[in-house]
């Protein structure tokens, strides 16, 4: 069932909050992978506030849906969502990156409630997600597994090893996302190593694909709902996104893969986000 206008409005407001939280935490922690955290935000918000069957009070509930952030450097964005969902006191994020904190740039599943797998080394997450999806089948469990990859990590061969196996086993309980913001650390993906056509590559490996605007909640919701009902194939949703989304000095700027904010930049970034959403929400 498609998202209602009211649901889209609520998700939009939540994405506004999360983006502001990412900026605030980036300011307090000294530096973060802010560009990719801002590009992935809308998909994470759609999942955690609408689609994932999870219960923050029972983070290890065995029937919960699983989410694997294969682009583990988006940890600050993921932690902002998990904190807001109530997996932990979000005030703890003030210690993000600090010595002894449970929160580092790449989340640790043994320390952060709601983090289903430790990730950070690129190209690992899809295989873990395939294992979870196979595990659900073996355990006769109905949970679904979602995995978000960065686009740059599609260079890693292990992604395609896992993709072959997911297609072979027709893992229709697995949905992957590609955060297609077009940039890796050293520049545009297509200048460094051609990834396109990403959709044709996945289709050749036995996947169903859909390419959407990764900042458009009705499109995100529609794609997730299609994936949920598809039988006999894993599904990948290629989300066209903007690195640094909503902060004009960061948008589509590769150097903002990782960066810190002083108080002036933080205020400027927050003002950008507020302006963006004030216009969007009317």
């Amino acid at each position: 069932m498609a998202l209602t206008k009211e649901e889209v409005r609520e998700l939009t407001k939540k994405a506004w909050e999360i983006r502001k939280a990412i900026i605030e935490t980036t300011y307090t922690c000294g530096g973060s992978h802010i560009g990719g955290s801002l590009s992935q935000t809308d998909v994470l918000v759609a999942l955690y506030y609408k689609y994932l069957n999870v219960d923050p009070a029972r983070p290890k509930w065995e029937d919960r849906d699983r989410f694997i952030l294969s682009k583990g450097h988006g940890g600050i964005g993921w932690a902002s969502v998990l904190g807001d969902k109530g997996y932990f006191d979000k005030n703890l994020l003030k210690d993000f990156n600090k010595t002894g904190s449970p929160f580092g740039m790449h989340l640790d599943s043994l320390k952060v409630k709601g983090c289903d797998a430790s990730t950070g080394s690129l190209g690992h997450g899809l295989a873990i997600a395939v294992g979870l999806a196979l595990g659900a089948r073996l355990k006769k469990k109905g949970f679904r597994t979602y995995c978000m990859m960065g686009d740059g990590e599609l260079c890693e061969g292990s992604v395609w090893e896992a993709a072959i196996l997911a297609g072979h086993h027709k893992l229709d309980n697995l949905t992957a996302f590609v955060d297609r913001n077009g940039l890796m650390i050293d520049g545009p993906t297509e200048k460094i190593t051609t990834l396109e056509p990403i959709d044709e590559k996945f289709r050749a490996f036995g996947w169903e694909t859909l390419t959407i605007d990764g900042h458009d909640f009705p499109a995100i919701g529609g794609a997730i709902e299609k994936a949920k009902v598809l039988k006999g194939k894993p599904f990948v949703i290629i989300c066209k996104t903007v690195k640094g989304k909503c902060v004009d000095i960061m948008e589509n700027q590769a150097p903002w893969h990782y960066g810190g904010l002083n108080s002036d930049l933080r205020d400027q970034a927050l003002a950008c986000v507020d302006n963006y959403y004030a216009k969007l929400l009317g």
Binding site: E62, R66, D108, S109, L110, D116, A117, S118, G120, S121, G123, H124, G125, L126, A127, I128, A129, V130, G131, L132, A133, L134, G135, A136, L138, K139, K141, T145, G157, S158, E161, A162, I164, L165
Partner: protein
């Protein structure tokens, strides 16, 4: 639980390590319904395929894709299953070292790894398929337990014991043609507790894997020469049996380690760490592959070539016995 209750293999003392573990794992499948076996196109070479024949629904052959296989094993463990992964040691500890460390050990997951064709046991294959680095690599991963069984029966014991041992376990075996050293499986195998194969007062040989049989053979020769030789089967490299090593230093003051592995980073290094930390001096030698890429050949020829067969051990013991070392028992001034 006594491991003797969980499996039994007829003629286990005549079967290879891989044959025994394939059979034992198949038997354990009944007791542990959550075991899922994985391999990467080596179902028959590693013998994990025997489990697959018995439990085809709990067996995944990922094709030739070791890196994703270890990630998939992590995912299966996160889903509450008990993955047992088997491929060659070289691909486990070198190609997929990062997945084993980051996906499995970092998350302290219940994944058991049985790595075959370790050391130079696949001697004819050349260094691409030798693996004389895996003990060093695997014991450096926090949370990992590292076991090097001496023969088929001990491999069966180790596999059974690993099922009840928390966290990731790396069991390292050879190609599977190594002669047995044990006649029965019922000798009280426990992870982390070494086995004294024979007692002695003059010198101690600490061995693992195929080195145990060579050490026992050497000890028989040495005994005939009038040297009382202690042989310790140090099947668990991590956590290592510190007390037994320190006792051997105190009792014999001469220690030799024997392993089918580079002398850098393996059993010898692990034993040396314990000795050095104890503050007690002793005459010490490490036998194994001397920090080189092995020549091609049949394993028994290579063990002889690199002097860690019985003949080589006897020679090295002779060298140690000729060393002049302080024999007093006043350790206080040396700690």
């Amino acid at each position: 639980m006594a491991e003797g209750l969980t499996w039994s293999v007829t003629d286990g003392d005549k079967l290879t390590q891989a044959e025994v573990y394939g059979e034992v794992l198949s038997q354990l499948g009944e007791k542990y319904p959550d075991i899922v076996a994985l391999t990467a196109d080596l179902a028959s070479s590693t013998k994990i395929g025997r489990y697959g024949k018995k439990y085809p629904d709990r067996f995944i052959n990922v094709g030739i894709a070791e890196n994703s296989m270890f990630g998939i094993a992590a995912g299966l463990a996160l889903a509450g299953l008990k993955p047992v992964v088997s491929t060659f040691a070289a691909f486990t500890s070198l190609r997929s070292a990062e997945q084993v460390r980051t996906d499995i050990c970092y998350q302290n997951l219940d994944v058991k790894i049985i790595a075959t064709h370790a050391g130079i046991s696949f001697g004819q294959a050349g260094s691409t398929h030798h693996c004389t680095e895996d003990i060093a690599v695997m014991r450096s991963f926090a949370n990992m337990t590292v076991i090097v069984p001496a023969d088929g029966l001990e491999t069966g014991n180790a596999v059974a014991a690993a099922m009840e041992w928390p966290g990731p376990v790396y069991i390292r075996i050879g190609r599977g043609f190594e002669p047995p050293v044990n006649k029965t499986k019922d000798y009280g195998y426990t992870i982390g507790k070494s086995i004294t194969m024979r007692d002695g007062r003059d010198v101690t040989i600490i061995a693992c894997g195929v080195g145990v049989l060579q050490a026992v053979r050497a000890a028989e020769v040495l005994d005939r020469q009038g040297l009382s030789t202690r042989v310790i089967n140090m099947h668990t490299i991590k956590p290592i049996d510190r007390d037994v090593i320190i006792q051997a230093v105190k009792d014999t003051r001469r220690i030799i380690t024997v392993e089918d592995h580079n002398i850098v980073g393996g059993l010898g290094s692990a034993v040396a760490e314990v000795i050095v930390e104890s503050g007690m001096a002793c005459a010490f030698r490490k036998l194994g592959v001397p920090d080189c890429y092995s020549i091609v050949g049949y394993p028994e020829d290579l063990y002889h070539h690199y002097k860690f067969d019985a003949d080589g051990i006897v020679d090295t013991v002779g060298t140690l016995m000729r060393l002049e070392i302080e024999e007093d028992e006043d350790w206080e001034d040396e700690v």
